[in-house]
Symmetry: C2
Subunit: 481 residues, 2 copies
Amino acid sequence: MNGKEGSFGIKISSNNDVEGKLPETRNKFKVWMYKIWEFAKEDTNRVTFSLKVGLAVLLVSLLILLQAPYQVFSTSIIWSILTVAIMFEYTVGATFHKGFNRVLGSLFAGVLAIAVAELALMSGPVAEPIIIGISIFIIGSVTSFMKLWPTFVPYEYGFRVILFTYCLIIVSGYRTGNPIRTSIERLYSIAIGAIIAIAVNTLIFPIWAGEQLHKELVKSFNSVADSLEECVNKYLSNDGSDHSEVTNTLMDEFPDEPQYKKCRSTLNSSAKLESLALSAKWEPPHGRFRHLFYPWSEYVKVGAALRYCAYEVMALHGVLHSEIQAPYNLRSIFKTEISEATHKAAELMRCLGKDIYDMKQTIKSTLVRSVHSSSERLQRAIETHAYLLASSYQIPDHNSSIPLPINGLSKSNQLAEFKKEKEEEGEMNSQRILSVSWESTAALSLATFTSLLIEFVARLDHLVEAVHHLSQMAKFQHESL
Amino acid sequence: MNGKEGSFGIKISSNNDVEGKLPETRNKFKVWMYKIWEFAKEDTNRVTFSLKVGLAVLLVSLLILLQAPYQVFSTSIIWSILTVAIMFEYTVGATFHKGFNRVLGSLFAGVLAIAVAELALMSGPVAEPIIIGISIFIIGSVTSFMKLWPTFVPYEYGFRVILFTYCLIIVSGYRTGNPIRTSIERLYSIAIGAIIAIAVNTLIFPIWAGEQLHKELVKSFNSVADSLEECVNKYLSNDGSDHSEVTNTLMDEFPDEPQYKKCRSTLNSSAKLESLALSAKWEPPHGRFRHLFYPWSEYVKVGAALRYCAYEVMALHGVLHSEIQAPYNLRSIFKTEISEATHKAAELMRCLGKDIYDMKQTIKSTLVRSVHSSSERLQRAIETHAYLLASSYQIPDHNSSIPLPINGLSKSNQLAEFKKEKEEEGEMNSQRILSVSWESTAALSLATFTSLLIEFVARLDHLVEAVHHLSQMAKFQHESL
């Protein structure tokens, strides 16, 4: 979102402006217009939504502007305008949800207000305002307390509606002497507003929360996969030249790692997924989601499993930017295995994402097995060369007793090269020689990195399982082989 | 929050009920009442807030219920009720923020509506409704588009206010023929509502967003420290007996780790801190926060640095629950150093939290140094015994060439014991003997755990710096020595 930092406003270039300033203002205006254009193009639903709101308020205003409906509804129709403006949300589900809150809240408040007003009327003109006053105080306190209760937090708006509808009906009922008429008038004007808002929202280019949730989840899969690859590639290609600079930059801000930011936003996406799922539950079957009880809550669970993997990516990222680093040469020894495990894992994640996107169930056992075997190969490589990690200078005498992997020969070559380089480096630049112990801890950081990567792969199992469960519940199509 | 899973409702036990059911219902009712009581007791501000809302709506209703003010204000005062119900928020800052949105939005909409209405009036009776209709459509679309712009998202409510106020004024102005009177009436009734809401919210037991933010941040410090200690203690005390069970439980759900949940909620707290900081900026100097421009945004930065540490705790937690585990005996070799580093780090965090709580600047250099030296001791212990981590069976022949730490002797003893135990175990239970290579990877998981812990300590520096910056900006008192 390039508009994040942008400011926005209406600036009218006055004619009295100094000539020199004019082009600048015009230029700024152009930049703004371009930013707005980009913002709209990024997601055309934004424009659709805006025009739909305009249409909805226009339609409801016509009920007063035109002579014929005005004679039927009179000025009480202004409540419909309020209803449309407050109820109209971005997605269909959210509009239904808010509409439900508003209509049910108004109904409840209306019935309660009529009951209390009748009771107050019966108790005579002296007691009447006292009873009404006390009831207002009680309703205000009780609804405010209830909306703090965790279960009811999503219905916060409903409690607000109960409160002000109750007050409005009972107070204006007291002055007009006819609370029943007041509440009925209010209810039907709210109903008209609600019908217009829902009709415009649902029938004209509907924006479905379910569709958004679906896309959002798939996007998260790709973000985590991209971020994993970015982090590992950087780790393997990093020659340590920019290391001192990195530790000085503000933590958590790495301009050269665009994917990292996306992954981090995945970690904070739980609230977004939950609110979309809450809205999606209110939507009727639509588009590709044709079951009556589509398992939207499963999306939230898959999102949680995905976040669980993303934590490992954050930890990998932590190792990438930690102060103690394994020497580049040591890292490059395990480059093949690390890259392979990473790319297989990323491929599996993208494949899972694509399956969800296409709403298909493909058989991923081959891919899962290949991810595991590449992770095991990495593990074996680490095991075989564990002595390297423990102390990169001292090659123990018993290394022949450790089983060599298939590509053990090339590893030994790399190792010899690495030793030679280290020695040369040591000779050339004696003040840069690090203590043996520091060196060995540095090497252990490579062990940390690979352990985290292996743990990431282990967590993928949970993710595969969660996606499988979603596929079953949502009855994704089995791909014909 | 024990009320999280609880349900809530009003249930009136009818007299026609079967005798047997009555005690049960009564019992449930008691359970509810107890839960509500606990919920209220947990944070008495909840009760205060509820009673304040009741009072505010009562006060504004009195303007209509009593004869004298009613004759002054007449029924247009019902807009005040709506304003109070919508504006009254939990904290003072949020109320100010919402009030600002409402008042500024209404003012802007009022001025715009008057201008357009005058223009429409001048263009004759045929063009008037057309101009009004088009203007409503434009205002609806533009405000809806603008509120999607990231910079304006916090002012979402303000745009809604502009929309419906504009529609209400221009439409009812069209019918009464006097848009100026309509808007002025509406504005003063909104002003009355706003004044009552702000007066009640600010003058009677005010709940300050700043105070909440302050407490929330301190609580996060303690959560992360507690969670770190819990995780490490469990890692060191874990004898592996419940390991297979743990991997089968639903990920991310560990009922025996209450602190972990709190730490995880710290990760998701960024939105909460930001919204509290946004509200706090609206608050006048109060209580202990007496500077005019108190640096509330620094709290958000400290929160970010804290989250950066919490990521490491999550990763440590991941190692604790990963499938490949270092044998308990191996872990216990480094128990002293790990415990020491952990407890020092936790102590530093709690100390930072306490300093913020007390608004004091104490000199923490001794503590910071001691944290670092304990972290270095752990690092040295790992370095010295790196060969153990690399391959726990094969003790290389050159271990005499590795510098022994001060307590090297006891380590060697522990080591001999560990080897003996391992051998005994191997004899006793031959099918449980793991392959040499697996064993060495398992041992590397200990290296991962300690590396993460060391990285956690490294990140504490950022946190100390962030807290120091906050102390400077907020002019915390220097503690006299």
